[in-house]
Every structure is written in C-alpha cells, then in structure tokens.
Point group: C2
C-alpha cells in the first residue's frame, strides 16, 4: 500500500491533470480553490514526496552546494564548516559535505560525483599541493566552484586564501620586536601549500631583518600534536632549546608545549612561542599558557567564499574572483607580552 507515489498518481486519484497537480503543489496561481484543496488532500493521503531528481532535471538546478574537504574529521575545520553551512542556507541552498581522507583519488571521485549534475556549485577546501592537476581539469569544465585555502599558480579561479606569508611575517616580527635572536620554525605538513607559504614567510622575514637561518632553524614537523611533542622533546634532549619558536600550526605548538611542561621549561621565561591558526581545543586555554598566535577569520572566509560561489552560479560567465584575506596577530601570554586578550 505504501509504494512511492508521483504527481500522476495524485492526478488520477483527484481526477485532474498532472499540470494542475504540479501547480497546486507549487503554490502557483491558476488553480481553483476546490481543485487545490482536493489535490492537497490526496497528496497527503498518498504520502506524496516530490522527486527532486526529476525536478532538478527539468529546472536545470539543484539548489545544492557540495563541499569537498581534505578531511571531514579535523576540529580546526569546524568554524569553516559552520560558516559554509550557515551561508549556503542564507542563499537558499542546501550544503552537502564529504571528506577525502587526504586521499587524492577519493577527492577526485567526489568532485566527479558533485559535478555530474548533483549540485550547482562546489567548494573545495584544503591545500594539498597535489590537487593542482585536478583543479586545473575542473577549471576547464566551467563548472562553478571556489577554492579555499589552496591556490594554483597561474590559474584564475574563484579563490579565497589567507595571506600566509604575511601571517608569518607578523609572527616573526613580533618575536623580533621582543628581542629574540634565535627564532626557529616548526613546519606544517610538507605537502600542504599553507605550510610552504608559512615557511617562506618565516625565511623572508628573517632575512629582511638580517637574522641568521642555520641548519637548526627549520624543524620538520607536521600539523599534529604528536609531531610537535616529539620534535620539541628531541630539541630538549639534545640540549638545543631555542629562544623562540614560530609554529606553522597551533596544534603543533600544543604538542610542543606538552613536551616543555614535562621538561619543566617555563613559558615565556625560558622560551617564547607563537602559533598559527588560532585553534582552540577546549582544554588548552586552561591547562597551558594561552598561545600567542596568528588568527585566520575562518567564518568570514566561508561567507565570502559562498557569496562568490553563489554569484558565479547565478552568472555563469563571470570572471573568477580572488580574495586574499589578511590574518592578524593575537597576543596572549606565550611571549611574555603584557597585553592579554
């Protein structure tokens, strides 16, 4: 008794035509009150659910935006996810998320999936450097999409990126202004463009200020607490403690802070730290000194991205828009500055 019903079923049962049913169901004018009432009643009885595939097919739009993330399971992405959800909704679109588990092939699969008619526009969030080829291919299809975080050299696409080089500059110059000489850098994942940009910002700023960069200056860590912990422990054991460290990511800094705590090294008295991202796991603001860091306005970036994307969906021939977002230094306590936030 409970098979799926269509407007045709309703039409038959109500003794009218498909056309009229469609009109009534969509609150369009040109339906007598009597017919409308009957149609609505029958459609309730039949437990009617419209088939959006058919509807989207004829309307040539889905009112849906797909989001492909490097990985769905990264707390730092939460602000961005919330922003994308809220802002797609604001424009009357639904948002669908999927994560690529940091796997290029999976990401390609999902991009295919979404671009095969299942949504009107696509958000690609992440910064794997290997994505370049995949993005170039996508760009050729004219399918509306926007790239967040990553950027492809010489390719004009809708793009929202943080000025990571400038962020590094802010961080390093803050440490320099406090009189630090021996400033080291804990890197992020080598295969992410943000890591490379932040590294470049570090190197450039150091050079600009005539600071020395030695073999010891750059520590090959990753965006994980584990990595920060391990690498800082190594420095401690080697009796090679830096005066100051600029981390490519807050998570890495958190791991390092754990190592410092275990070794009884004081922050900021014995070592000064600056992070990047303004990540804030619920714990750390209490257990450890508050981390001075470079803040990215994730929520705002998501909003800008969706605005651009929706505009592109509505105007398919629009020129690509690139928006560079400026990060800001948030001074807390890991550098000993008096200013608190």
């Amino acid at each position: 008794m409970n098979t799926i019903s269509t407007i045709l079923d309703i039409a038959k049962m109500a003794g009218v035509s498909k056309t009229l049913v469609s009109r009534a169901l969509n609150n369009q004018p040109g339906v007598s009150e009597q017919s409308r009432e009957k149609i609505l009643r029958v459609s309730k009885e039949l437990n009617y659910r419209p088939n959006m595939l058919a509807k989207s097919l004829v309307l040539q739009k889905t009112q849906t935006i797909g989001v492909v993330l490097d990985d769905l399971c990264v707390p730092f992405y939460f602000d961005m996810i919330r922003s994308l959800e809220a802002n797609t909704k604001k424009h009357g679109f639904s948002s669908l998320f999927c994560g690529a588990n940091d796997n290029e092939e999976t990401k390609l699969k999902y991009i295919r999936f979404f671009t095969e008619g299942r949504c009107d526009g696509l958000v690609i969030y992440g910064s794997h450097i290997n994505d370049a080829r995949l993005i170039r291919n996508l760009a050729e299809t004219k399918f509306p999409f926007i790239l967040i975080e990553n950027q492809i050299h010489d390719l004009a696409v809708n793009n929202v990126v943080l000025d990571n080089v400038y962020g590094s500059k802010l961080a390093v110059e803050h440490l320099i202004s406090l009189g630090c000489k021996d400033i080291r850098h804990f890197m992020g994942d080598m295969n992410k463009s943000v890591s490379l940009d932040r590294l470049r910002g570090y190197v450039e700023t150091m050079k600009q200020h005539g600071m020395e960069i030695t073999d010891d200056s750059i520590i090959n860590s990753r965006f994980s607490q584990q990595s920060g912990y391990t690498q800082m422990m190594k420095l401690i054991k080697d009796d090679n403690l830096p005066e100051a460290v600029f981390f490519a990511g807050d998570v890495t800094a958190f791991g390092a802070m754990r190592a410092l705590a275990e070794a009884g090294i004081r922050i900021p008295e014995d070592i000064k730290l600056v992070g990047f991202d303004d990540d804030k796991p619920e714990t750390f603001d209490r257990v450890f000194p508050a981390l001075t860091t470079i803040k990215q306005p994730l929520y705002e970036m998501g909003q800008i991205a969706i605005d651009i994307l929706v505009d592109n969906i509505n105007h398919p021939n629009k020129e690509p828009v690139k928006k560079i977002i400026c990060p800001e230094l948030v001074i807390r306590t890991t550098c000993g500055s008096k200013i608190q936030i």
Copy 2:
C-alpha cells in the same frame, strides 16, 4: 565552446545514435570496436560529463547514502564518520554528510532533502529525544534508513544502539567493587536519549546494590568540558566532594578533571572517576591521569549499520533489524586499579 554536452551531442558529432553512445560509454557489449573508439574520442573532445540526475531517474537508484548527524562538528563522532565513509564505499555507495546543528527543523529539512530521491538510503545518527515524531513519519514512508544511537519506543526500524544501561551498570559496579559508597552521577544533555539511559543505568544499579541515592547524587551537567568543570568546581567550593563519580560522557569528565587539578585534588587518591564513550582528545592521555571509561565500538557500529542499510536497500520489504551493541569497561588509572591498558 565549453557548454555542457550530452550523449545527444556526442551522437550527432560521431554520426551514430544515442543508444550506441550510451552503450559505448557504459562498456556494454554490442558496439563495434570502430564505433566505440570514435564515440570515446568524441566524448573526450566534448569534455562529456554524464548527468547523474537523468541516469538516476531512469535507473531508479543513486548509489548514494545520506548521513544526517545531530552536528557535524563533534570530535567524538569522528570514528563513526570514518566508519560510515569507509563502509558505504565498501558497498559501492558514495556517502554525503550533513549536520543539523542540533536543530530539529534543520534535521527535518535534511531528511526531506535526502528522501526526495537524492539517495537510496539514509543514516540518522544522534539521540535527540525530540526526533521521535520525525522518525515515526519517516518510518511510514518505507524509505530505507537506519537509526544509530537513538531508539524510538515501540517503533520497529533498522536500528543500531549501544546498551547504555548496561554500560552504566559496568561503570557503577566497577566503583562499587572498589569499595566506593558515595557514587555520584554527572549527567549528559537532558534532551538526549543516551543521557537518560545512562542515568537510568546508574539509578538501577545503585538500587540493586542497596546504595543510597540522595538529592546530591545526580548532578545536572551536560556533554561539554565547560559543564563538567563548572559543576565540579561547585562541589569543591561547597566542600561536597564525592568519593567517586560516574560521568555520562568523557568530555564532562575532562572538564571536571581540570577543576580537580586546579583545586589540587588527587585522582584516584581523593576521588575516583569513570567516564563513558572512550573519547580521546589528543591532549588528555598525557596531561591528566588516563580515564577509566566505558567504550563504545563506534567503528564496528558504523559497519553494522551500513550492512543493514544496504541490505534493506537491496531488499525493500525486509523486516527491520535491531542490533544492540554491548559496551565494555576499559580500566585505566582514574580509579586506582592496578590494571593498565
């Protein structure tokens, strides 16, 4: 030049019929090598992307499973998300995620969205008690779906749930076996069925063992560190420190542990703790004593759920399957037991 092309475009350009194009593109037999080659070449030239809406419409299946979560941004869900991703993939389905921001209306909207032909089956993960009505309605439509975590009284649907009452029993009896008399319970969110079940398990077990439950026994906290911190701080300030606490969630316990640390109260010497969930933020295993807890096998639950759901998709008239998963006690150090893991 780069408009979207269809099989008809290919057919014209290759000088064959749509039928033949369809066959060639789908690797079906009955196409001459010559035709196949030409068709494939033309489809490359045209940058052809199949329209899955049309395909799904005629095939009456999407090879897609939708997942609606209470909230996309909860680290504790990560294992489940990964499991759902991996296991849908295993069955040849794609998985699409969306979060309801703990908002009933949003959840309803997404369930509608998915059941309007956009996927073959649906996973609903969460335990809001208000979802009951919404689930009942969905159950009437015969659309294949599975409910994880939540359970609706008297309603037979595909369902994977943890035996939360039994989990509480394990926790409380562990504390009793260690000689604790004054065992209190920090609750989870009042509007989640898991909280109520865990509370019930606590109360029942206490009564079974003739333990007293007073006005002080049950603390009205929530699934957040903040709430655990605040409520434990209050007990400390009131000089009303329990001998032992069973928390409805590990996150709550983590917050409480922070309060205990600040107050200089030792675990397990001064107070014994048992959590629930086996949540493990990267920090805590190092900074605080490892939490004895009740573990839910999230990954396995996800696998079972998808197996059931896919089976239901393939056999629409199958009877609903309900699977009750048994949690287990993981003894670490917050109760002072010698056994470590």
